[in-house]
Amino acid sequence: MELLSGADMIARFLKDEGVERIYGYPGGAALHIYDALFRQDSVQHILVRHEQAATHAADGYARASGKPGVVLVTSGPGATNAVTGIATAYMDSIPMVVLCGQVASHLIGEDAFQETDIVGVTRPVVKHSFSIRHPSEIPEVLKKAFYLAATGRPGPVVVDIPKDMTAPTERYEYVYPKKVKIRSYNPVTRGHTGQIKKAVDLMLKARRPVFYTGGGVVTGGASEALTDLVQRLGFPITTTLMGIGAYPQNDAQSLGWLGMHGSYEANMAMHHADLIVAIGARFDDRVTNNTSKFCPTAKIVHVDIDPSSISKTVRADVPIVGAAGSVINEMISLVQGREPAGAESLADWWKSIAGWRAEREGKLYEPSKPGEALKPQEVVEAVHRVTRGEAFVTTDVGQHQMFAAQYYKFAKPNRFITSGGLGTMGFGFPAAMGVKLGYPQDDVVCFTGEGSFQMMMQELSTCKQFEVGVKIVNLNNQSLGMVRQWQDLNYKSRHAHSYMESLPDFAKLIEAYGFTAITVRTHEELAPALERAFADTNELVFLDIYVDPFEHVYPMQVPLGSMRDMLLSKTERT
C-alpha cells in the first residue's frame, strides 16, 4: 500500500493516466500541487503567461491529438482567467481537464483571499465539474474527470481542489483506478440499426444528395470511414468549419465548407439537395442561416452522439443517436453490393455542381499584381504552397480565420484548429503553442490579425522559455477586419472602433523576445519571406504581412436568407 498526499496523488495520477504535459500558472491555493510537480519528472509543466493561454494551449493540443488537454491554475483570478478557454472548449466539444486550486475548505464561503466559486462560475460551460471533499477521493474523481472529458460528446471538466485537500502532511492510500463507472452516464456508441437502414435506403434512392459533416467526425476519429462511404456512393460532401479535413478537400467530391462564409457550391448544393446526410454536425446558425428557409426540398438524416443536438434547430426526418464511426461503418456494410438507384440523376446533380463551381470562378477575389498591396487570400495560398498543405494551422477569429479556412486546403483531419463555436480572439497563438509542443517535427502556423494577436501576445515569453517554434502569420490590415466588413455592409461604413490607431512595430516587439520577425509590404517580398520563415521548422518566426485593408470575405450569406442567398463580391449577389 502506498500512502501519498493529495498533491502527490495528483502528480502521480497524471503520470499513470499517461499525461505528458500540462499547462498552468502557480498561485497560493495550488502551491502544494506545484511542489509535487517539482519533485517528479514524468509530467512536464508549461508555464504560460496568462491562464487563458493555458486553456487554449491545452485545447490546441487536444484538437490535434484527440487526447484531453490538461490545465492547472490557482483559485480566484487564476481560475476566472481560464473561463474563456473553458467556454471555447465547451462550444467545440473539446476534451479538457482543468484542475483549479481553491481556498482551504474551512474558508470557503467567507470571501477569503483569492476565493471564487469556480464551479458556479463555470457551470454553464462545462460538461461536468467536481469539488474534492476528501484527499482520498482524488484518484477516483480525477479518473472520472478524464473519462467524462474524453468520452461521448467530449467537453471540459473542472476539478476544484481546496488547498487542505493537497496538504503534504495528510497521506492516504493511492491506487490508480483503471476504470470508473458513473451510473447516470452511459454514452451511446452504436446507432439504432433500423434507423440506419432507413437512412441508407434514402441515400440509395436520393437524386440530389449531400453529405454535411462536422466536428463529430473529427473528434470521433471517423474520417477514414467517412471518406470510404462518400467515395463508395459518389456523393458530394461539404463539412462545417469544425469538420474541415475529415474528407480530403483536394478531392473532386469535396465542395469545401458551408455556411456564412462557406463555399458558393456547398451552399447552393445544400439549398437544392433532396437529401442531407448530417453526421456529427449541429445545424448551428452560422451554417443554416434562416432555419425557416433552410433546404426546402431536403429530407434530413441526422447522426449525432448527443441526442440533444438532434432536432434542436432543424427537425430531422431520420434521427440516429450514435458515434459517427460506428454508424458510418454500419452504413458502409449496408451500402456494400448495392448501387445508388439514381445513377443518372446523380450525374445531373454533379453537372449542376460543376455549373455552380464555374459561376463563382474568379469572382471571390482578385490576386494582386506586382506593385499592388497583397490580398490576404493569396498569402494563405502561398503559405499552403510553402508548407505543402501539411502544416497544422491554428487561427484567431475574424477575416483572417475565414481566409485561412477558405484557402488552405486540408487533406487530413485534426489539422485545422480554430475556435468555431465561441469565436475566441486570442485563441490561435496559444493553441499553436500547444500543438507545436505535442508535434515538434511538424510545421505549426498561426494565422492571426493585429487585433487577435494583441490579446495573447504575452505568450511570446512562454515560447522563449520552452523554445516553441511556431510560425505566426499576421495578416495586417490595420483594422478589425471582420467588424469593419460588417460596418461597411450594415452601418454605411461608419467604422466605430474597428481600426487600430496605435499598432506597435511588431518586428521590434518580436525582436525584443529574441525572435525573428519579417515585415512584408509588397507583392514581391512575399515569396522570399515565406521561404526564409519556413526554412527551420523549429524557429519561431513572426511574419507581419501588410494586406489590402479594404478586402471583404466572400461569399457571405445574406442575413435572414436561405443557404443560397449570398453576396459574391462587393457588387454581386445571388
Partner: protein, 163 residues
C-alpha cells in the same frame, strides 16, 4: 402545454443548481419546483412543472438527461398520473369570519392546523386548480400568508421511476 417532469437526481452538493441553471441558461421555464431526498439516501427526487410545445419539452428532457447528476427522469404528463401540492395559508380569523374560514376549509377538506385569537393556519392538499380555488374563496376574508410546495407527482399503476 404544461408538463410535469420528475427526476431522480444524485444527492450531491451542486446537483440542484445544475438543473436550475440549465433552465435559465437555455431559456426554459420553471412554473414550480419541488425537491426532497428519497428512500435511497443517495438520490433526491425533483419534480418540475414547465410549459412548452413538444419541441421545447423534447429539448428539456434531452438536456436534463445530459446532466451527469441526472440518473433518470420521466415526463409524468405522458401517462396517467397523480399530482399533489400542499399549501399552508394564514387567514385573518376575527368575529364572524372565524366560522366562515372553518366552514370553507371543511368544504375543501382542508384542516386548521394552528390557531391564535386572530389567525387560523389552514393546511390543504390537492392539485393546483383546487389550491387556486381555495385562495379565491379565502381572499375576501383576508389571506395573510401563503406557502405552497409546488407540484409533486407519481405515475398511476405499476409504472415506476426507480433504478
Amino acid at each position: 402545454m404544461r408538463h410535469i417532469i420528475s427526476i431522480l437526481l444524485e444527492n450531491e452538493p451542486g446537483a440542484l443548481s445544475r438543473v436550475v441553471g440549465l433552465f435559465s441558461q437555455r431559456n426554459f421555464n420553471i412554473e414550480t419546483l419541488n425537491v426532497a431526498p428519497t428512500e435511497d439516501p443517495s438520490l433526491s427526487r425533483l419534480t418540475v412543472t414547465t410549459v412548452g410545445d413538444d419541441r421545447v419539452i423534447e429539448q428539456i428532457t434531452k438536456h436534463l438527461n445530459k446532466l451527469i447528476d441526472v440518473v433518470k427522469l420521466v415526463d409524468l404528463t405522458e401517462g396517467n398520473h397523480i399530482e399533489r401540492e400542499l399549501m399552508l395559508v394564514k387567514v385573518k380569523a376575527l368575529g364572524a369570519a372565524r366560522d366562515e374560514v372553518k366552514r370553507t376549509a371543511d368544504i375543501f377538506r382542508a384542516q386548521v392546523v394552528d390557531v391564535t385569537p386572530s389567525v387560523y393556519t389552514v393546511q390543504i392538499t390537492g392539485d393546483g386548480g383546487k389550491l387556486d380555488a381555495f385562495i379565491q374563496a379565502m381572499a375576501p376574508i383576508g389571506i395573510l400568508e401563503v406557502a405552497r410546495t409546488g407540484v409533486s407527482g407519481i405515475a398511476r399503476g405499476d409504472k415506476l421511476l426507480s433504478l
